[in-house]
């Protein structure tokens, strides 16, 4: 019998190695797997490359991981926010590397990794600073930038419900990057508000089929995002 559920957050993040690339779901705090991030901090892996839309909010979650000095580089679209003080300080001190990627290119590059494409010609960013030095091509009168897949060793995501085969459904706008990151990581680790019996999720409505998920951990009572 296949059971991808693990019984603790420690077990969920086991094996995340120094220097790993780790995708972390969420758009702000919606969909951010805060408890998995806390477990990753406790786990201790360092020199991580993190892929997330943002670079941490407030002092919890991704911001706490940054503050613990575990992150060498962050690949994101929108680091600067009203409450991104942890990232801001590290960046100004030259203690973190930033690869800034337009949000749609971030999504498309993650999807390209998940779908096995070698590269894509994307319209976004052409003629801007963020395409400097990149190969471009005119196709049917429009200009495109060549962008490469973003893969990860691990993805930490948050879903609403999951089952022992790793099937997942999400809740409202907390879906965001979860489903696409799940496709692009070697090991996808999902925290779910509830583990349900096999067959309880409607096969027409499963958003992430279990093929993309290696570990599921229940974080009960936290179906909604934790507010800082």
């Amino acid at each position: 019998m296949i059971d991808k559920t693990v019984s603790s957050l420690e077990e969920a993040v086991a094996g995340i190695f120094d220097g790993a690339t780790v995708m972390i779901g969420g758009f702000g705090i919606a969909g951010q797997p805060a408890e998995l991030i806390d477990a990753l901090i406790a786990h201790g892996a360092r020199d991580l490359t993190i892929v997330n839309n943002n670079a941490g909010n407030g002092e919890i979650g991704l911001a706490a991981l940054l503050r613990a000095r575990r992150v060498k580089k962050i690949i994101c679209s929108f680091p600067r926010q009203a409450d991104s003080q942890v990232f801001d300080a590290l960046y100004h001190a030259g203690e973190i590397e930033l690869e800034l990627v337009p949000q749609g290119n971030l999504a498309a590059r993650i999807q390209a990794a998940g779908a096995g494409l070698g590269a894509i010609y994307t319209p976004t960013g052409y003629g801007t600073l963020l395409a400097e030095g990149k190969e471009t091509r005119e196709i049917d009168g429009r200009h495109y930038v060549l962008e490469y897949p973003i893969r990860a060793d691990f993805a930490l995501i948050k879903a609403f419900r999951g089952d022992r085969w790793g099937n997942l459904v999400y809740r409202k706008a907390a879906r965001n990057f979860g489903p696409i990151m799940a496709t692009a990581a070697t090991v996808t680790i999902a925290q779910v508000g509830e583990v349900v019996p096999l067959g309880a999720l409607d096969p027409e409505s499963i958003v992430t089929p279990g093929i993309f998920v290696q570990r599921v951990v229940a974080v009960p009572g936290l179906a909604q995002a934790r507010v800082a």
Binding site: F27, G28, I29, A30, G31, N53, S77, F78, P79, R80, Q81, S84, F87, D88, Y91, H92, L98, L100, V101, P102, Q103, G104, N105, A107, A108, I110, Q111, T122, P123, T124, G125, Y126, G127, T128, L129, L130, H143, Y170, R171, K172, A173, A174, R175, N176, F177, G178, P179, I180, V207, Q224, A225, R226, V227
Partner: protein, 221 residues
Amino acid sequence: MNRLNRNQMAARVAQDIPEGAYVNLGIGLPTRVANYLPADREIFLHSENGLLGMGPAPAPGMEDPELMNAGKEPVTLLQGGAFFHHGDSFAMMRGGHLDICVLGAFQVSAGGDLANWHTGAADAIPAVGGAMDLAIGAKQVFVMMEHLSKSGECKIVPFCTYPVTGIGCVDRIYTDLAVIDITAHGLLVREMVDGLDFAELQRLTPVPLTLAATAATTVAA
């Protein structure tokens, strides 16, 4: 002259959004356009974090931390709305499925280049979000901004001096003074606020303007 305030600018943009349009309202000033959409028009608001059919802010106490707009403010979902992931959300933008997006700007050039993501300051932390995707993706890109910066420089410029967000992507500019189309033949003034004459608008704007034959006076809401 009757310079528009920011709410009046938002109301003016809202007038031009037709029923049935799929629309993304950028973070900041453009978000206010939602407050002025006519109640008798069904308009589909898209939010890049995975919402279509976004509704107004919830009643106090009804906020849901998992139901936010791209500016991370609490919103609602209308009946008939849908949730989807970031890949699908940006396919909607980049694939040309949005009819209109409304963006703020630091500068717009005579050729329709947009600068709205980076001041170019050496110590600034750059952040782009979905701005570059919106700029090149929607069928029509509307910019709303004050005509002049706080220091009095016109934001409509021959060439952008700030780093650009997209090349040749802006279709129409709404300022506190005028509504201006960017056309293959240059900038065409569609409307001016009451009490502003064309010569004065041209004096304030370092790019050649043409007055549309059908030019009208903006009626402030």
